[in-house]
Symmetry: C2
Subunit: 469 residues, 2 copies
């Protein structure tokens, strides 16, 4: 008794792949992922047309998707985040119908509540047994957590597990269990290990970044949230890690025992848990090999699904239990709305990921960003794309000062009392414009190339086609 099938193409045929279906992928192999391209090649070879590809994220490596869009193997695209050539091609109008952007929590939630139905999920699995029990923790392409793939496994009509490391039944410590899996394919290599996790993440050395991080840590310290039981999410960028460093030192000084940290996990957060600053890591995605190793070895380091992370369709999720989240922005406007989907030219360069989910859930949402990037001001009158609604954002921190959302006067009061450089978002906008002038607002004038859904499924914004530049 086995679910093994020789090739991806055979599995696709057995799973009933046909024109017009929605197929899904997770992005835990990030820019090292071979699986999406291999599956799309197989689909194209079978002559399948009009597929909708739902991928939790797309990276540079997924460039071949452009060819599959051109030959109409793929006519629909749904992502939580995308960057690289596919994002650029979408911005320039390669697809007839708009891309659907969801958040990480929204994607899981729409699967949980049945509004997003996947016909076949193709799950890249760093290790698996022949019945489909699988995990990201072991094997040559280990990526750690398979959190974003869990919803696909549970809800898709058919599930194909694709691995390069088959182990004897039963795989221990499976992230996805056999009961959800139809077919298992073992191929030579599911990914390029050197690009699966981003390598060692580093604290920024840029003085502007360090200044922002120092201010952010001060805001967290004086916000009233940094006390026993503190829960925290921050990203893997250089500024985020610098914030974590300063928060760590404050926790050590204050003998503070946090409860959990969450999100994309780095070695830095692992060290904080090992030092006893947090009892638990809730890990929906590993960002470096230190995190992968810790997930394997440390019982306090727990893998969670996207649903448990942030699904608004569940009875609760961990994001709702966050005290503080530190997030970035490509733009922020006077209403504290944040854009993480497009750059200032209107090109798609990202997506919400868990941005709007954690902003909605956390008691305090902190946006950190340089006031000016490449002579372009951060703060605008209206963001080109509303990724995260302003009412879920508490405070913006730049190197030139701190702006607190007027809907949180208590926080403003605390930060003023602490002697922090609190100003208004309008003042910060003026400061930037004094330095580099008011930029001409570029808003795509073409047809809609993407629709941005909020985590509850409602329509947040749309992104228009850009002029090729």
């Amino acid at each position: 008794m086995t679910k093994r099938v020789e090739t991806i193409g055979q599995a696709a045929v057995l799973a009933g792949l046909r024109d017009g279906m929605r197929i899904s992928f997770h992005h835990h192999l990030r820019n090292g992922d071979y699986v999406l391209n291999r599956v799309m090649e197989a689909a194209a070879s079978l002559g399948i047309k009009n597929l909708t590809v739902n991928a939790s994220s797309l990276f540079d490596i997924h460039e071949p998707l452009i060819g599959h869009i051109r030959n109409r193997t793929v006519t629909g695209l749904e992502v939580n985040y995308m960057t690289g050539p596919v994002a650029r091609a979408v911005s320039e109008g390669i697809l007839d119908q708009p891309v659907i952007f969801r958040s990480h929590g929204g994607r899981a939630g729409d699967m949980d509540n049945g509004t997003l139905n996947v016909d076949i999920a193709f799950i890249a699995a760093p290790c698996a047994d022949e019945m489909g029990n699988c995990s990201g923790k072991y094997g040559p392409s280990a990526c750690g957590s398979l959190g974003y793939a869990c919803s696909d496994a549970v809800h898709a009509k058919k599930v194909v597990v694709i691995t390069d490391h088959l182990v004897p039944y039963p795989l221990q410590d499976a992230s996805i269990q056999e009961g959800f899996v139809d077919y298992v394919v073992c191929i030579d290599r599911i990914g390029d290990a050197s690009r699966i996790v981003s390598g060692t993440t580093r604290i920024t050395r840029d003085p502007v970044g360090l200044k922002i991080a120092r201010l952010a840590a001060q805001v967290i310290i004086h916000s009233g949230h940094l006390k026993d039981g503190f829960s925290f999410q921050t990203g893997a960028g250089g500024i985020s890690l610098a914030v974590a460093k300063d928060v760590r030192e404050a926790m050590i000084r204050g003998h503070i025992k946090g409860s959990f940290c969450m999100g994309g996990i780095t070695e830095y957060l692992v060290r904080m848990m090992e030092e006893g600053l947090f009892s638990t890591i809730l890990d929906v995605q590993c960002f470096d090999m230190g995190a992968v190793k810790s997930l394997r070895e440390n019982p306090g380091h727990q893998e969670i699904s996207a649903s448990r992370y942030a699904s608004p369709a569940m009875k609760s999720c961990a994001a709702d239990h966050l005290d503080v989240v530190v997030l970035g922005a490509t733009q922020i406007d006077l209403g504290f709305n944040v854009n993480v989907h497009t750059d200032s030219n209107g090109y798609i360069i990202g997506g919400s990921g868990g941005h709007c989910d954690t902003a909605a859930g956390a008691k305090m949402t902190v946006i950190v960003a340089p006031l000016i990037r490449a002579r372009i001001p951060l703060i605008v009158e209206n963001v080109l794309c509303r990724s995260t609604p302003g009412h879920t954002v508490d405070v913006l921190i730049t190197q030139c000062g701190i702006a607190v959302n007027p809907n949180n006067p208590d926080l403003r009061e605390r930060l003023l009392r602490a002697g922090l450089p609190v100003t208004s978002i309008e003042k910060l906008k003026e400061t930037a414009e004094e330095m580099c002038g008011k930029p001409k607002l570029i808003r795509g004038e073409g047809r809609v190339v993407a629709e941005v859904l909020y985590r509850d499924g409602s329509r947040m914004d749309e992104i228009h086609m850009v002029q090729r530049c």
Copy 2:
């Protein structure tokens, strides 16, 4: 933000408990369970009527249910197994409508496929956090695996977690996750620890039992299944443990590395894993404190849900991967059909549990039982109740010989070649009847008091009302 509610009654009201609903319970606290009785008291106090109670199993401690049936708080009952006063009262006709018997796999499967819909699941949890993440591994009422409660949590419309050991959020290593839980109640004590697990299970010292066990081990050894990768399920009874002992010695002698053992787990199986005879234990239920401790500490000892154990509604389950299962019987008939629901008087004294699930899944199903119990022969022309269909049973082992199901001539050949005392089931029946006469067949003549569903939901048999004796 919390899901905590002060009392069970308040949780029941908030969850919308009302007349005619189906409410569910798991049986991991076994004969030490306080929770079912406490919930039923609360329901009765609220004046609720016509509830259907779906409990994975019922024991002596659940005697108060009889009062709730008398006052019509409860008018329907669904179980996988029941023993004690409630079973007796049902046999004597206390309920107007038949009890529905399912198997452990069938109950999970009927929830998985939507034919069994639970309105409110009340989940006794030895530890939990205030958002409902919970586990059976820790706390004063630790019971180990919560495998049978997982389906209830995932599928019930409302889920109430009842604990006596509240821990800070987030509970690590949760068996059931917050996303499925609506309310959490913390009470003084959810169970009587001394009766939750059956204490130290012992290998039989009865010479008849030992002889059966020795023959069973010989059958396993010579069946061709005992080789590297061997997977095995046996029960916690004295004969089962004696079989495990002999299998263990054979594995050590033959340098055989098994893959997994499964089912109700005892310290004896834990020791076999620790000795390297099995790499993995798949644990749907712990039978003693040694198993509970191992589940907490040994990464190879894995908790599984009832769905993963044996649900026929999933794409595969672990029961389908068993090589050998050793099971008991109260009766077996000439067609190898097994009765584990009633005694020879027709009284309900058990139920399938995982009997028919593992019999259907395993490559070889071994029934071990004494040929005569209290002057009553084991083998009858037709079982009083067909719990497990004969075509899924391979071999019956008694102290007077071995009968192989004619549908497995290959096995018969192997055992004969090994010089084992193979005979026919008809011969064994004659032998017993020569010793204690042919018993008068007592078949309940009254109305139907229970319907027995097979694991796929089809109707297997019915149990009739007995004359009070």
